[in-house]
Assembly symmetry: C2
Homo-oligomer: 300 residues x 2
């Protein structure tokens, strides 16, 4: 089954102590869509300017991503510039130029409205609502967010939580949203705000799934070198949703394995700048990493 | 089989925003010995002063801990006082009074020298060496440490690493020792210093075992409330060594399960001040938590 992915489609300029990488393909929807494309057909919703490089359109196409919902507007593509410190844990934003993203309205082509799986990747909650308003009975809706929306659009976000199946956020966002220092207690509070499934991302420490059938502790793939973690969280949830959409059987059982698949794709994302590494892997490479991860948590 | 545990035996005064807990039983050896006692016979090596409360001696005895190696010297028992902030992550030392610990030499009774499992809990590396010097061909030796010894006794510690099977340290200590920000890369470097098994503790994020048969990612038991994390790391390695000593079969296979048992005991430790909760549990309660943990990492 197909996954609809809405979020930002951007150009990322990423600086590290060793390298300067101008105008890489980035944005939450780009990372999530490419990650999901290894498992199921993807329909992308986003906006780019007329400066958007043709090679990035070809890259989406190579991954079989449906671009009917990708708007091209006169103006500049959303551009984010950031810098990482040596330890890769501290990120500093150097510039955010919204460009055509500022006036983006995610209107869906008719062919998108019956997609059974919907991933509302990180984007303003009002736009996430707008997408849901156009959907016809999706089977499973997951939404990601970021600290910015907790600060400036909390009301919209809280309303969104009552409309989705799964909410994905990182541990610091969970603390900010719930005022709970303890992440487990925080996840319980988030359930009361609406979502049946709460997924807390903890970066190199993996992720937690809190669901009606209990807690699942998902490991991160242990990497001994991280090149660029930008988009790892988007790759995680993209891989997770793609795997879910591509699997038969019960949701709860598939979700656990989907977390592991998301972790595997996210680990590849960290091994290159932007989408450089992710776009060069195969489904077989992902399966291999999933097998390795399974061996690393197995008790026997 | 039995486990010899050497480390500090102390009185801990632990302050939190809500409570003051003077002179609890504490110290690395106390936590580790009680944790190990649920699985196998324990021989304790340590020193206390003549002010050491009789009720704590009875507590050790109730756990079947062999106290022939517990020295009682004229003077005061090692006393540590610390304070936790609301979030339980930041600890501040208020006082450290070494007392009789200052001149402690861990001389072993003859009956201790053939213990097959040896846990060198956190104590000066010179004393850990002194214990090993007296042992007769132990089967498995694990050593814990702390940042203090990396700062003031690094040479002794590096020599120790060539004499032990397993080295246990937390993630910040691994970074300090290896100058590697990446914990996985750090663990690889530590193997080159001697130990076949490297265990990196990550608190609420669980622990990693790096071994000749690969990596094992062990979860922490998810607690929605932490009362006092003092001694959790000692309980983890104590439970791990106790479980190992009490199990038949291959070391590598048992070690994975031992990590889960260590995590379970450590989680109980965090639920009360000092040893208050740990001393009130049963083996059945530990088994139940291990089963819960297994279900939380299982993919099916």
């Amino acid at each position: 089954m197909s996954v609809l992915v809405v979020g930002s489609t951007a150009l990322d300029s990423i600086k590290t102590p060793c390298r300067d990488n101008p105008r890489l393909l980035g944005g939450s929807a780009s990372h999530a869509a490419v990650a999901a494309s290894f498992f199921s057909p993807v329909k992308l919703v986003g906006v780019v300017g007329d400066d958007f490089p043709k090679r990035y359109v070809r890259l989406y196409r190579r991954h079989g991503i449906d671009l009917e919902g990708l708007q091209v507007s006169a103006g500049k593509t959303f551009h984010w510039a950031g810098e990482y410190e040596v330890n890769m844990n501290n990120r500093r934003t150097l510039a955010t130029e919204l460009g055509v993203f500022e006036t983006f309205t995610p209107n869906l082509p008719a062919s998108y409205r019956r997609a059974p799986f919907v991933l509302l990747a990180n984007i303003a909650p009002a736009l996430q609502h707008h997408v849901l308003d156009q959907m016809q009975r999706p089977r499973f809706v997951a939404a990601d967010t970021m600290d910015l929306w907790l600060n400036i659009a909390l009301g919209d976000l809280l309303k969104l939580l009552r409309r989705i199946d799964a909410f994905v956020l990182n541990d610091s966002e969970a603390r900010q949203l719930t005022k709970e220092d303890n992440v487990i207690a925080g996840a319980k509070k988030i359930h009361r705000l609406g979502p049946r499934y709460v997924i807390v991302k903890k970066g190199e420490h993996g992720a937690l799934l809190s669901s009606p059938s209990g807690m699942f502790i998902s490991p991160a793939f242990p990497l001994d070198r991280v090149v660029d973690p930008t988009g790892a969280g988007d790759s995680f949830i993209g891989g997770l949703m793609g795997y879910l959409a591509g699997s038969r059987g019960g949701l709860d059982a598939n979700l656990r394995r989907a977390m592991i698949y998301g972790s595997a794709v996210a680990s590849f994302c960290c091994e290159g700048f932007g989408l450089a590494r992710t776009t060069r892997i195969t489904r077989a490479a992902i399966d291999q990493r999933v097998n390795q991860l399974e061996r690393m948590v197995r008790l026997f």
